[in-house]
């Protein structure tokens, strides 16, 4: 069974109550239309339930947003690009950054031409951090 985080539970509750609220409000309108009575007891029931569900949905949505705002964002991935120093060889590889990497560090021999491989660039894959 999939284990849901607190965040996802709050989001699901918010969605659930907003759907219920729409259903109840819709039923209230249908009831008024079918009975031609603005204040019949059933429509008041449905209206009250709809408003209550809407409030609950707003509450869970607020809690969800608040929890998200306090969460530390995941850092984006950093890539190390390696190149061969032989101008005629176009060997290039990319891997995830490892501690100790720096630009122009020599990292071994080229598998294609046996030239020297060096780190040509280190950069972040994405501009925005993922939530």
């Amino acid at each position: 069974m999939v284990k849901l985080s607190k965040n996802n539970v709050l989001l699901l509750l918010s969605i659930l109550f907003s759907i219920l609220s729409i259903i109840f409000l819709f039923m209230a309108v249908i009831n008024v239309q079918s009975t031609y009575d603005l204040v019949n007891l059933y429509s008041i029931d449905f209206l009250a339930a709809g408003v209550l569900c809407m409030i609950l949905s707003m509450f869970f949505s607020y809690r969800h947003r608040r929890l998200l705002s306090l969460k530390i964002l995941k850092q984006s991935q950093t890539v190390t690009r390696i190149r061969c120093d032989n101008d005629n060889c176009n060997y290039k590889e990319e891997r995830f950054f490892q501690e100790g990497d720096y630009i122009f560090r020599e990292v071994g021999k080229c598998p294609k031409c046996n030239g020297n491989l060096y780190i040509d660039a280190i950069y972040d894959l994405e501009l925005k951090a993922k939530k």
Binding site: V39, T78, E99, G100, D101, Y102, I103, R105, I122, D124
Partner: protein
């Protein structure tokens, strides 16, 4: 009375109220009066309350970021410094470290005073790192200094926001709270950027600010490199019958070097016969501008307190050396966090632009000084 009977009673009463036109009128009037009363007397309080709630939420996030960055500092110091004691209390107290700027009541000689204070600050940082991380390799000290600086920055932001938040809450002064709430989006952007910088410094990744150093490094790759001043290197080589001297901070640690002293020494070494100084640095872009956009101008392209700028301007003016500035634009976040691909690509374009300046604005036999300004962390 059962639950069902009670509900019926309530609903029947509600039903009666809505059916009776006088009751309905009175109900509407009551609602209107309540609404008017709230609007007249509580609107500012309500607004202040909402602003305070928003500030409180940001303050909580700031607190998390500040404490998390402190944890990262402690973890890194334990990892690389291997102290045989707990460094946490020392780090905790060093987070409140401050620098008092020299007085400007009498501005004469203020640059030298500033320089002196900055040198003392730098020494103090280095000795503190050596004290809490006795086994740290020499080349890792600048990274830890940078890491410590980002933690101090975040801690300062947190304390500042907390101060205005509590002040606003205590005084119920709308002006304080409004100022805080309106500055919060910018403060939070800085805080998130500082926090990302913590990660970059802890693993020694190159940051956006280092693009000037990267351009210089690309130019001096494969050439003989010598040290000119403390933490600053230079390389001298021929290019199309011109002598190029490229200066940058010594990498791959988080150094910015003593660029001003290096330029002064080089110029004095050649008796002032330098034809041109070309400086490359990262600069803040305006919103809407593209990251990595290169702009060209004249003057000393160097940020910071202005101490280095003053010295370079002095020596360039003394020998009437033209100063070219090449800036690579990026946001504040991009400048202090890991380099983006756009910035890496801009460095290649900047190398071409520098060579183009040399081709078009200098003649054979000229001596040209090229300076890559910025933090050289993660760049040799």
């Amino acid at each position: 009375m059962s639950h069902k009977t009670l509900m019926n009673l309530v609903f029947t009463n509600v039903h009666n109220i809505f059916n009776d036109s006088t009751s309905l009128y009175l109900l509407q009037l009551t609602f209107f009066l309540i609404y008017a009363f709230i609007l007249a007397f509580f609107n500012q309080r309500l607004q202040t309350y909402l602003w305070l709630r928003e500030a409180e939420s940001s303050l909580k996030r700031l607190q998390i970021l500040a404490s998390k960055s402190k944890e990262i500092v402690i973890k890194k110091i334990n990892e690389v410094g291997k102290p045989n004691f707990d460094p946490s209390p020392s780090i905790e107290s060093f987070l409140d470290f401050f620098v008092i700027e020299p007085t400007s009541l009498d501005p004469y000689g203020i640059v030298n005073k500033f320089r002196h204070i900055l040198d003392v600050r730098s020494e103090r940082f280095e000795s503190f790192i050596k004290q809490i991380a006795p086994n740290v390799p020499q080349n890792y000290i600048p990274n830890l200094e940078g890491l410590m600086e980002t933690a101090i920055g975040l801690n300062e932001l947190y304390r500042l926001v907390r101060h205005y938040f509590i002040l606003g809450k205590k005084t119920k002064n709308m002006l304080f709270i409004m100022q805080l709430q309106m500055n919060l989006p910018l403060i939070m952007r800085y805080a998130e950027a500082y926090f990302s910088a913590t990660h970059a410094f802890s693993s020694g990744k190159p940051i956006g600010d280092g693009v000037g150093a990267l351009v210089a490094s690309k130019l001096m790759r494969g050439k003989q490199v010598k040290r000119i001043t403390n933490k600053t290197i230079f390389s001298e080589f021929e290019y199309k019958d011109r002598k190029l001297i490229v200066i940058k901070a010594e990498g791959p640690g988080a150094e910015i070097g003593e660029i001003d002293d290096a330029i002064e020494r080089i110029i004095n070494m050649y008796g002032g016969r330098v034809s041109r100084i070309i400086m490359i640095d990262a600069a803040l872009k305006l919103e809407g501008e593209k990251t990595g956009q290169i702009a060209e101008g004249v003057g000393v392209a160097i940020g910071g307190t202005g101490v280095e700028k003053f010295k370079i301007e002095e020596i360039a003016t003394k020998y009437k050396i033209p100063l070219d500035a090449l800036i690579i634009k990026m946001s504040l976040e991009e400048a202090i966090t890991t380099m983006k691909k756009d910035v890496i690509e801009a460095a290649d374009d900047a190398v071409k632009r520098v060579l183009n300046i040399i081709d078009t604005r200098t003649s054979q036999g000229d001596i040209v000084v090229i300076v890559g300004v910025g933090n050289t962390m993660g760049i040799l």
